[in-house]
Symmetry: C2
Subunit: 146 residues, 2 copies
């Protein structure tokens, strides 16, 4: 049996994060020691490692919640899980496209600046006027984190 600190160290997750996952129902309520401290077994470690890895791959906690409940029913078909993964892949591809455009614009800005006064700075100038940009990089749809 692991204390919360050991569990966190093994899974690479900070202690308050584990408590947060329990609070939002992503981890089941842990058993407690005589002194009211949480205790975890191998299953909890596996579940937490799953969460951690999925987070590292950019899945949202909502998606992870669904993936976990799917993985609790091993006899079901896996199409739903695959769909979640494909949606995540599509999301990553959209961000990649946008970031690639941003990178191009930022490089252009930085390269074009001759390094004089603010009044002549290309960085400031381009930031004030999107028509100086070479791509249409604007935020069209919503976008989430990492």
């Amino acid at each position: 049996m692991l204390t919360i600190g050991k569990l966190g160290a093994q899974a690479g997750v900070k202690v308050p994060t584990i408590r947060y996952y329990e609070q939002i129902g992503l981890l089941p309520e842990a058993g407690r020691s005589a002194g009211n401290q949480r205790l975890y077994g191998r299953k909890a470690l596996e579940r937490l490692a799953f969460i951690r890895h999925a987070r590292d791959l950019g899945f949202t906690l909502e998606a992870i919640r669904d993936l976990l409940s799917l993985s609790d029913n091993p006899e079901q078909p896996c199409v739903a899980a695959d769909a979640i993964a494909r949606a995540q892949l599509a999301e990553v591809e959209r961000r990649l496209a946008r970031l690639t455009a941003l990178k191009a614009e930022l490089e252009r800005m930085v390269v074009q600046c001759a390094g004089g006064k603010i009044a002549d700075c290309r960085v400031i100038e381009v930031l004030g006027d999107h028509s100086l940009c070479s791509t249409d990089h604007r935020h069209l749809e919503s976008e989430a984190s990492p």
Copy 2:
């Protein structure tokens, strides 16, 4: 003079967002009409467009605050502005590298799944075990938004 709604429409920024920018001091307090409604001139529109464009390029509000105060001093040298832009470029490049790795892993997962039961699903399997990954895609340093 523009009302807040017209200003937002011209700059492509939602009305509550403008009020939010004023609240956090990114926009100066607007003048008011007789009936206490905010009124904006050309300078406010330019400033808001600058903010919007910088946001679209991924700068944080903190960075934008600095850029704006730099652009208010046109006689100063522009090295500080260029440094902010270069830092943003570096940030974008780091995210790009990470997202590229994520994309590779997600593609591998999706392709390898044969589409049977959850118990045999490669997606679920890989999520539970990072050693099945081909790259080290983990969250090493902190990372900010889109």
